[in-house]
Subunit: 608 residues, 2 copies
Amino acid sequence: MKPSTQEPPVAARIRALSNLRHWLSELGLAGFLIPSTDAFISEWTPPGQRRLRHLTGFSGSVGSALILSRGGALFVDGRYQLQALSELVGTDLDTCLDNPAARLSLLSRLPAGARIGFDAWTLSMAARDGWKKVAGEAGAELVAIDDPALIALVAEPGEKPAPVSLAYPEDMAGKTWQAKCSEIAEEMREMRLSAMLVADAEDVSWLLNVRAPDAGTGTEPDEASFVPASPSRALLYADGTVKWFVDAHEPALATRPAFRIMGSSALAAELSEAASRGPVGINAERTPALLADIIAERRMPVFTDIVARFRWRKQPAEQRSAREAHLLDAVALCRFMAWLDSAARPDDLTEAAAARALHAMRSANPAYRGPSMPMMSASGPNGAFPHYVPPAEGGRRLNDHPIFFLDSGGQYLGGTTDNTITMALAPPEPRHVRAHTRIVQGLIALATTHFPAGIAAYRLDTIARLPLWRDGLDFDHSTGHGVGSYLNIHEGPRIGFQTMPRGMAGIERGMILTNEPGYYSSDFGMRLETHMIAVDTEFAGFLKFETISRLPFDPRLIDFALLEAGEMQWLRDYHAQLINDVSPLLDEDTDRWLEAFVRPFLTPDRAA
Amino acid sequence: MKPSTQEPPVAARIRALSNLRHWLSELGLAGFLIPSTDAFISEWTPPGQRRLRHLTGFSGSVGSALILSRGGALFVDGRYQLQALSELVGTDLDTCLDNPAARLSLLSRLPAGARIGFDAWTLSMAARDGWKKVAGEAGAELVAIDDPALIALVAEPGEKPAPVSLAYPEDMAGKTWQAKCSEIAEEMREMRLSAMLVADAEDVSWLLNVRAPDAGTGTEPDEASFVPASPSRALLYADGTVKWFVDAHEPALATRPAFRIMGSSALAAELSEAASRGPVGINAERTPALLADIIAERRMPVFTDIVARFRWRKQPAEQRSAREAHLLDAVALCRFMAWLDSAARPDDLTEAAAARALHAMRSANPAYRGPSMPMMSASGPNGAFPHYVPPAEGGRRLNDHPIFFLDSGGQYLGGTTDNTITMALAPPEPRHVRAHTRIVQGLIALATTHFPAGIAAYRLDTIARLPLWRDGLDFDHSTGHGVGSYLNIHEGPRIGFQTMPRGMAGIERGMILTNEPGYYSSDFGMRLETHMIAVDTEFAGFLKFETISRLPFDPRLIDFALLEAGEMQWLRDYHAQLINDVSPLLDEDTDRWLEAFVRPFLTPDRAA
């Protein structure tokens, strides 16, 4: 059957699966494993690298499919179960909650000695080892496949050439690449590492002060890759020298002193050579199995996320850029909220159209480079799913329910934002107001806490939940996560109730973290999200947070009588600061709206 | 050298070590491992079973010594490092912080193939496996030794025959032993266990409604075993039948219907027989390696703490007994505090004498069976060590420092208490008041929180710290732990910042937990501790705590201006309830003192 350009997506998927299965039988494979990750083990894969979505229709950010000669399954985490069920329609794949038992159950159906193929570039070493263990228990075998014809069959059409990597300005990075390399090399020597493979594109971008150009983040949400990381890798040696493996870069980078640039194809030989000379460190979660195996042929790699741990602590310049990015984001958010709150809001405005409108308002700013994440634009019942993303066209009409929340963010050159607003677009019910007030109290509790420097992030997770628990409410996601500097919106540490792996990471001075309590009922959902920087307190060894987001809260969703005096004071200070910082940047209409909207916070007699 | 009855303790230890070493060389052993545990893997070993203390002088509750032909080391956790250093004086043993690297470092000094002996009765399977792993890495071998002459050499002189086990009244247990066995058997069938070895004396005592008699807890603190558990073991089968292995019991117990009683020597054969018939469950942390190995000869044991998990959830009758025990304890505590707070307090009163006085006041109550733990009586700088226990005679003079805290508890038939008071015996400094106020606020925060039923205990640990963190203060121990019902003062779950193993246990309705924030400076320490029961809230799926301790707080150590209105209200309600419940039980003088002492909490105009 010749593919038609008009072929509907479901038919295209069925055809792609059928082609893949044909080749599996040719190669004597019982199945093939397709993770959501690409060769950089990315959380957000760029367009053209979305193999899992191409073959199964699943559009969530994390998952993996085991495609058998007949049937198979997509393994996802709890937040994606319902979504996967509906997106897989038309395929013969089941949806399973991902855990070792579910994997074992599927693999156990295969005959003894069955061989499961995978692409060792797109599976991290840690993920490969997880699958290998279960396959072993089931009597099956995991086989790395580099047959180009097969890889072509699982590839998503439309892959673009890798973007040309550019230098990232030192005044935004706050530290030279040489200084970063030499600091990490010092710690490597303490760990007795002779080299470190930096396979995570976010680590490389940070370490070498390089980024993908604007095009890397796309201009339309659906085309976005969300993360302006340079698609390249590096080898850092214990003497502080570095080799950068990249296929396209601006010429000026070649003039950096003592900076070896090589094509990506040179990495294998250099890695093998490094491993023959001494211990090599890798981050097993973010290193393709293929590269880990090259090292392992010589000696066991040493597992460390040392580069990421340096990256998470932001330089003063990075903090400054983040603050500025939040001011720019606040301008777009205020314009958007003012528009939503006005008679100009179309009666048939949908979730998707609202998201597009906010994207357009962000785009009015020349520093905006694209969205930092898919826009979670959710009205009423759709908000029951914390990670709901509306279809490209449509979704629910905002006017059909009073409660609307939108979690979105922007990449601004120098800073990455991710803010969540909740609004009442019609008079809310008391239960909406009550839940939202508890969310606000939870956000304030975390925003104002002091804590021992270096404390494991999971130990702060309970704080934002206490006001919700008071009313028998809770939310089933983490309270916060680290945020990149013009990089991935998600990094470590994670403030969540699961301790491993990023919950164990310590919170240190300079880290930027989100504060995002929410509540999800069966017929509505709401969340607030702000960014905070960990800063010193007057007490040695103790830190606190400084909130750098500048988004107004909706006073119609707050029961002021429930607030403690300290909470009321915080809201007053926060909104006064917002007016002070953002008002000068706003057009006159938006400014007038903002002043009126937040007035209840600034009027002292509203305090209990 | 003939031992003299006048021999000082250090000389006795040196002689015991020397005798042991002589036998080690006879048996070709390079060393011998002495844990703090006895054959019931007890936390508090009874007098006559304290081998580690006998051989090394170390009196802490947890540790293990590896005694080599020359030298060796005692491995302890952080709280005992300083204490061990001073107690080991006169021996040739080092003190080490216990971790695998420290163990490996000592074992690596031995020649390859060195054999280390241990008594497989006194080391749990989990502890043995931990040592075995490190020994393997060091090229040494761990060898179970049953040579009676050698065991006699490590034994502490003065061992008493095991106490006669008695029936525990059903009206206190709240459930028949048959009902408990049949409930657990049901869960065992779901887990496909054919039998469960109940090797933990606390589990057996709870499951079969048996206890040691009063004598088991001693009458003088130094003689106490602290836990009135029956020194026996049981095999529970999946059909709900049970065999009890005990050497001395009151005759009436033999008349229980369908209750097989056998001597402890019969256990090995029965266990082997059970394992040959199907999977046998054990709690690896509380089962001697010797018993685990008997099962493992037939098949791998299944690891589960199912009996303990049932035990931790208290029956309504057990909760009632606990409430009553706290009233009785409050009578003694109030008398004690009134005496300390009066002119009758001797000028030369020491920490040890104060502890003895409280013990005597508790003993005035006929339901008192003895202390539930060593009395941590600490004045001023001694309070810098959270687990400080004064020497049997002496310790610091209370009049030399304003701040005194005392952590102690009683075994009352039916209930186990453990309450900590902090008092100002002279005008306190502002920093004392500030820290104590923060402790009170932390205690109130945990006492008043709502939380999802079944939540992992570690998730509540941060709550009581928040007010301390506000001032840059913290404490380096858990916030709370489960409490037994006329059993061990320490059980699961643990509200601490370490998640494994008891921090992962869920908090469920009916559990009794302590609430014990503190603060330890270099020159003083303070702690408050109350007990709470987890009870329902008006919200489905959410629990809260009900405080059942009735100890007055010292208002001279509280800065009322720092308190929120809700905190002031809690203190008022708590002390009003205390007056209401305890006042009728007090002698006239104590009652008069109590009313005056807590008046600042009850006077509304003290509220901020």
